[in-house]
Amino acid sequence: AQTVTQSQPEMSVQEAETVTLSCTYDTSENNYYLFWYKQPPSRQMILVIRQEAYKQQNATENRFSVNFQKAAKSFSLKISDSQLGDTAMYFCAFTPTGFQKLVFGTGTRLLVSP
């Protein structure tokens, strides 16, 4: 069975600082996709970033970047220059190629303070 683990229930960071959220997953698949989603208090799930397992290059989207370590089955999210609007729940998610079904981690609550 595929599982996604987020070991940090809560994190806090000050504005303008950098924070890294951890995610590990377990799968026997070789081809898959990994995602980070953000859910602010408004509860709208927002796709932050995507990583294809066959790509060695780490994905980046503006202030958001990932550290993808396939052998270690690790997929961490780095948020640079944190902003108050980054306060949200962050969910790591996984899907094997062809399954079209997301498996979510338990989430990390991030609080950005002034």
Binding site: Y37, S42, R43, M45, L47, Q100, F104
Partner: protein
């Protein structure tokens, strides 16, 4: 990405009644998904709905409790039947877009059962 709306945004219902949640997409999509997010928890997939076929339910979810309709490529409904307080959750629909299994989510329906 597709724009997804859900109705109602929230509701308070009595035990034993049923509620139908609507999900409308502004473009035609093949795959639609329904998730449940219990208070303070992660997302759990209820079922996958393809137009023109029966929904595929995940383990622990049954059609009698969560009947789903998918009459066309832009619309789906999820009914929560014979509700109990344990059904109090946020229900989210999502659609898959592109070739990388990305899912985009509606704003969710917050259901409280008293």
């Amino acid at each position: 990405s597709a724009v997804i709306s859900q109705k109602p945004s929230r509701d308070i219902c009595q035990r034993g009644t049923s509620l139908t949640i609507q999900c409308q997409v502004d473009s035609q999509v093949t795959m639609m998904f329904w998730y449940r997010q219990q208070p303070g928890q992660s997302l759990t997939l209820i079922a996958t709905a393809n137009q023109g076929s029966e929904a595929t339910y995940e383990s622990g979810f049954v059609i009698d409790k969560f009947p789903i309709s998918r009459p066309n490529l832009t619309f789906s409904t999820l009914t929560v039947s014979n509700m109990s307080p344990e059904d109090s959750s946020i229900y989210l629909c999502s659609v898959e877009e592109g070739t990388s299994y990305e899912q985009y989510f509606g704003p969710g329906t917050r259901l409280t059962v008293t």
